[in-house]
């Protein structure tokens, strides 16, 4: 019996991914554990390993295919002695049900139920790249209100042909979502953004270049739009004096052990200490360490702090888990590793999915103050500005201190104003009395 290889769920919340690359071809022999393909999820590239041994009988989903649903058939493995003709029975059936099952995988509260989910398989070419479809298929799709982007082609080189349209009509899949185009009526639906044509005609034809969106860009757009449309944000700002923290940091870094190569065991940054301070503040104000779901308040027992890392082409938020429990040195080293792997896009989904809050630090870029967008399932995000010498009034006297402005954005559904202020006060306490972070 041929073995079906399906799109793996690389994380509990993964709904779909892009089949970036096949590392095997039809006819290749594989053993369990061999890396057979690379899958690009929202933010990372993952390797898929074979779980059985056999011969790759058929590659069903071509390399470069986007939006492959979890559990969708991607290849068929033949067991020893099996003939390729056996594939027929193995291949065809599972693809359709997989598409239907996929939404169930979305367990994260973040998946805003209000947004109209596209029916059927996910778009394959939302990045504006050409969809290959026969003229007749195009016309049939338009006559029947089907979205070619939502269809998989079975013609030469994956071209969408008449039989694919007929199959979609028979299965009732691939309907173009009219809501996306005529949304205003539906209150919860996202407002339609300008069509590509509308945007492009505002510019001279040779005055720009088009860069197709990658998975990360699409995820950023989707999640942040969803956030701003579904989460009632409010903002609390506070100034924190940093002098004590900077002094402690210098002291701690100076005390760091060095190994025989002269490498220090840790080198704390202000950011590392900010993470720790926020984690401890959430421990102290547990009512703010929450996530919103329609039915319940999710009260988190640990502070998992996401840290926004800017990388070429976008950003990603790896999570320092249980940051309230971790020593600064551990946090610092974890961040260094995350930062490096984030830039290589090698983070695993479980390393950047989830979290209970986030820190976005633009201090190193000289930003004084800004406010960030809450990234669900978080209820809060702390926007951190630069520490700079500012005149302050101390005991009625004008003095100079290193001051850092921070702004907390919160989801008002679960963190009210006073609670946000309380959290921020706790945070400020740790920053200004940094020794308290060490005990």
């Amino acid at each position: 019996m041929p073995i079906n290889i399906t799109m793996p769920a690389l994380s509990p919340t993964m709904e779909e991914g892009n089949l970036a690359k096949w590392l095997v071809k039809e006819g290749d022999t594989v053993s369990a554990g061999d890396v057979i393909a690379e899958i690009e999820t929202d933010k990372a590239t993952m390797e898929v390993e074979a779980v059985d041994e056999g011969t790759v009988g058929k590659i069903v989903v071509a390399a470069g295919t986007e939006g492959v649903k979890v559990n969708e058939l991607i290849a068929v493995l033949l067991e020893d002695g099996e003939d390729a003709s056996a594939i027929d029975t193995a291949g065809a059936a599972p693809a359709a049900p997989a598409a239907a099952e996929a939404p169930a995988a979305a367990s994260a509260p973040a998946a805003a139920p209000a947004a109209p989910a596209p029916a059927g398989p996910a778009p394959v070419a939302t990045d504006g790249s050409r969809i290959f479809a026969s003229p007749l298929a195009r016309r049939l799709a338009s006559l029947n209100g089907l979205d070619l982007k939502a269809l998989a082609g079975t013609g030469p080189h994956g071209r969408i042909v008449k039989r694919d349209i007929e199959a979609a009509l028979a299965a009732g899949t691939g309907k173009a979502a009219p809501a996306a185009a005529e949304a205003p009526a539906a209150a919860a639906a996202p407002a339609p953004s300008q069509s590509a044509d509308q945007v492009l005609k505002l510019f001279d034809e040779d005055s720009y270049e088009l860069v197709p969106h990658d998975g990360m860009r699409k995820t950023i757009a989707k999640r942040l739009t969803e956030s701003k449309q579904t989460i009632p944000h409010f903002y609390v700002s506070v100034d924190c004096e940093l002098d004590a923290l900077l002094a402690l940091r210098a002291q701690l870094n100076g005390a760091a052990a060095t190994d025989k190569d002269g490498k220090t065991a840790y080198k704390l940054s202000v950011n590392d200490m900010t993470i720790k301070a926020l984690a401890l503040a959430l421990r102290d104000v547990p009512d703010a360490n929450v996530s919103w779901t329609d039915d319940n308040m999710v009260m988190h027992k640990h502070a998992d702090v996401g840290v926004a890392v800017s990388i070429p082409g976008g950003l990603i938020t790896p999570i320092i888990r249980r940051a309230e429990e971790k020593p600064l040195s551990v946090i610092s080293n974890e961040m260094k590793d995350y930062g490096k792997r984030a830039k290589e896009r090698k983070l695993k989904p479980e390393e950047y999915q989830g979290g209970t809050t986030a820190v976005s630090n633009m201090g190193m870029m000289g930003v004084k103050n800004f406010s960030a967008v809450v990234n669900p399932p978080h209820a809060t995000i702390l926007a951190v500005g630069a520490g700079e010498k500012r005149p302050v009034v101390k005991d009625g006297e004008l003095a100079v201190a290193t001051v850092m402005s921070v702004t907390l954005s919160t989801d008002h559904r679960c963190v009210d104003g006073a609670l946000g202020a309380e959290l921020l006060a706790a945070f400020k306490g740790y920053i200004e009395n940094p020794m308290s972070m060490l005990v």
């Binding site: 039809e26 009988g57 003939d83 003709s85 003229p135 007749l136 006559l143 008449k162």
Partner: protein, 480 residues
């Protein structure tokens, strides 16, 4: 001891069989082909190819007779039947030898003899029980001989043979099949052709041009019954102009052989009987699959109306036994056999292949005027429930046709009014057999009328009519 184990053994080296063998070899399958009589089968030896050679002679003869129309003169135009036949055999022989070369080049073993599927996975080859049709081209060198051969996959590609009507059995002297009609010892003065399918009509056309008095008898109400009735009617009218007589909705109930040839009793639909006398009678009432003596019955291979029943990949109900081409059912055309065979072995090799789609198989008949078509006829399209748009463009509106001196003919296209899908194309006139593939490609690529209208066709060519016909279907023809 020679190796007798193969991945694939193909029985029959006709156009289906030998192409299948080459494709199998290309796919890395160890392949052998069994042939008892002639490499290239009927197509190369007694069908498609030698008839085209005969018809070419007839065509040139026709032009010579009409040299005056082109401002030329030619006197004492005659022909030598033996030389015409010799040329035809030569063309056939050249290609026959070519198959041997192709087999060798692709390392396909040729097993000479009559193949039988003695059991699943085994072919027994013995001396041919059939008397070879003469004249026969020499068998290729270096073939394997009688014996038992093993193969994981056995593909039956044994083709078909002329259908025989009881009481009108061909005798090779007065009652001919295509075999005898291909190699006439002399040109008959008069001829009755039973059946107006491609074979019957091509011989009618050939012998008429070569001077015979020809009567064609057809049971159906139109000649070339599979063609679009409009095209059939135009072809019939043109051939009647040349002097061919047609008796439609008629059948030969009896044939008597006499000293001066044959007398056929023809019964028409209204019950009237008439006797027709001619030097020769060609029986061209279709072909039947060669399914006998192959061991198929013993293996329980399903057959239906004289053909092996297969799925879209040439698979029979018995695993490991396949059939392609004429023996696997209509349309009985060489190009259908070839494609079926390629699909069959690609599937065997595990390639991603779609099943045979019989809706886009073109058909060509090389009578004068030529007839070519693909897809649904107008009545069939309507029967299938389509709301159709029909385009027509006559040869008289085409510059190249006039320049060629071929102003008679029609290009007809049929579109689904709803979707613009090209459902069928039907042509009659000069060179249409070389034009039809344009529409075949268009259909396979699923073009709509729009794409065809956007395509630039070269001027001056007959192909411009193909575009005009499409334009006409949408009321936009330019040159009429």
């Amino acid at each position: 001891m020679a190796d007798t184990n193969y991945d694939v053994i193909i029985i029959g080296s006709g156009p289906g069989g030998y192409v299948t063998a080459i494709r199998a070899a290309q796919l890395g399958l160890k392949t052998a082909i069994v042939e008892r009589e002639h490499m290239g089968g009927i197509c190369l030896n007694w069908g498609c190819i030698p008839t085209k050679a005969l018809l070419r002679s007839a065509e040139i003869y026709h032009y010579m007779q009409h040299a005056k129309d082109y401002g030329l003169s030619a006197d004492n135009i005659t022909f030598d039947p033996a030389a015409v036949v010799k040329r035809s055999r030569g063309v056939s022989g050249q290609l026959n030898g070519g198959i041997g070369f192709l087999m060798k080049k692709n390392k396909v073993d040729i097993i000479w003899g009559e193949g039988k599927v003695s059991k699943v996975g085994e072919v027994t080859v013995s001396k041919s029980s059939k008397k070879a049709m003469e004249p026969q081209h020499p068998a290729p060198k270096g073939t394997k001989g009688e014996g038992v051969y093993k193969a994981k996959h056995i593909i039956v590609a044994t083709g078909a043979r002329p259908r025989v009507i009881p009481g009108i059995e061909p005798d090779g002297k007065d009652i001919w099949t295509y075999f005898e009609a291909m190699v006439p010892p002399s040109m008959p003065k008069s001829l009755i052709v039973m059946g107006s399918g491609a074979i019957g009509i091509e011989f009618a056309s050939f012998y008429k041009t070569m001077g015979a008095d020809v009567t064609v008898i057809e049971m159906m109400p139109t000649i070339m019954p599979v063609e679009d009735p409009e095209v059939s009617a135009i072809a019939k009218k043109q051939m009647e102009k040349q002097g061919i007589k047609f008796l439609l909705e008629a059948k030969v109930s009896q044939v008597k052989k006499g000293a001066g040839g044959v007398t056929a009793t023809v019964e028409t639909k209204d019950g009237k009987k008439q006797d027709l006398t001619a030097e020769k009678l060609i029986s061209a009432v279709g072909v039947v699959g060669n399914i006998e003596n192959l061991g198929l019955e013993e293996l329980g291979v399903k057959t239906d109306r004289g053909c092996v029943v297969i799925d879209g990949y040439g698979r029979t109900n018995v695993p490991g036994v396949y059939a392609i081409g004429d023996v696997a059912g209509p349309p009985m055309l060489a190009h259908k056999a070839e494609h079926e065979g390629v699909i069959c072995v690609e599937k065997i090799a595990g390639k991603d292949v779609h099943p045979m789609d019989k809706s886009m198989i073109p058909g060509c008949t090389y009578c004068h005027p030529q007839v070519a078509s693909v897809g649904l006829t107008e009545p069939k399209a309507k029967e299938a429930g389509y709301d159709v748009k029909v385009g027509r463009f006559p040869f008289i509106g085409n510059g190249k046709a006039i320049a060629l001196g071929e102003p008679d003919g029609l290009v007809k296209t049929i579109f689904d009014a709803k979707t613009g899908q090209l459902l069928g194309a039907h042509m009659v006139g000069a060179e249409v057999t070389e034009l039809i593939q344009g529409y075949v490609v268009a259909m396979n690529l699923e073009t709509t009328e729009e794409d065809l209208m956007h395509t630039v066709f070269p001027h001056p060519t007959l192909s411009e009519m193909m575009k005009e016909s499409v334009l006409d279907a949408y009321g936009r023809a330019l040159n009429m």
